[in-house]
Symmetry: C2
DNA sequence: CTAAAACTTGACGCTGACGTCAAGGGCAAG
DNA sequence: CTTGCCCTTGACGTCAGCGTCAAGTTTTAG
C-alpha cells in the first residue's frame, strides 16, 4: 500500500493531481482512521491510464465514464456511446495532427535542402542512398 | 478586402478571435482612417493555418514563430529549431493518441463481440464473412 | 437624414487541470 | 518528548484562448 507521496513519485504526478482525481471520482483511496490515503499497487497503472485519457483530450467526466471499461471490462451501453464518440474524435485529431506534421516537414525540407522545388516532389526514381 | 465580420464568417471563427490574433501578432490588418480593419483575401487561408497550428497544441508564441515559415517560406535558424521541436512533439502526440485509440478499440471489441477472448487475438484465418 | 448594423477599445468572465500557499494533525526515529 | 517530514482540508491563483458586456463611433441601407 502506497501513501500519496509514494504513488505520486511512482506515477510521476503531483499529490495535488492525485487528490484532484479522487475529487473527480477517478481514483479511490483507502483511508486510515486518521484520514490518510492509502493506495494499492495497481493505482500506479490506473494513474497512467488516467493521464493517457487526459492527454487524449478527454475531460474528467469522460475519463470517469471510460475508466470502468478500460480496467474492469465492464461496459455499459452509455459508456459504449462515449467510447465510440471519443474514438472518432481521437481519430480525427490524429488525422489533423498528421496533416499539420506533414506541412511542418515540408517547411523543414524547404528550409534545409538548398535546391528546393515547390511544385515538383522530385522523389528519387527507385534507389535512394543507403 | 474583407471587413472583420466577413472574414470571421469566411473562416468560421469569431471576430473576437481575429482581434486576439492581431493582438498576438499573428494576423495583420490594414486600417481605414477611422480605425476599421480590412483584410486581404489571403487572410482566410492564414486564419485556417493559425487554427491548425493551435489545434496541434502550439501556443500563440509558437504560432507566431512558425507562421512566417509556413506561408512565406522564410525560415530563420531560430524558427527552424522551433519547427523541429514542435514536429517532434506532434509526432509523439500522434503516437500517444494512436496507442490510446487502439486501447479504446480493444475495449469496444470486447464490449461488442460476445465471445471475446482476451489473450488470443482469434483472427479469422483467411476468409471473413463478406 | 436617420435608423440599423457593423465596427472600435477596454475590461472582466469563463473553463479545466492543476499550482500554491496556509494552518494544522500524524507518525517514525533518536 | 521532540524534531522533522509527510499528511490533511480549504481556498485562492494561474494560464490560454477566447466569450461577453459596455459604451461609443462608423458605415450602410432605405
Amino acid at each position: 500500500m502506497f501513501r500519496i507521496g509514494d504513488l505520486a513519485a511512482q506515477a510521476g504526478v503531483s499529490t495535488r493531481a492525485l487528490r484532484y482525481y479522487e475529487e473527480k471520482g477517478l481514483l479511490a483511496a483507502v483511508r486510515s482512521t486518521s484520514g490518510q490515503r492509502y493506495y494499492p499497487e495497481s493505482a500506479t497503472e490506473r494513474v497512467r491510464t488516467i493521464q493517457h485519457l487526459y492527454s487524449a483530450g478527454l475531460f474528467s467526466q469522460g475519463v470517469a465514464t471510460l475508466l470502468p471499461c478500460v480496467d474492469a471490462q465492464e461496459t455499459s451501453p452509455e459508456a459504449l456511446a462515449v467510447l465510440r464518440t471519443e474514438r472518432e474524435r481521437i481519430d480525427q485529431q490524429i488525422r489533423d495532427l498528421t496533416a499539420t506534421r506533414n506541412r511542418l516537414d515540408e517547411v523543414i525540407v524547404i528550409a534545409t535542402v538548398p535546391g528546393h522545388c515547390a511544385a515538383a516532389p522530385e522523389v528519387a526514381p527507385h534507389a535512394t542512398s543507403r
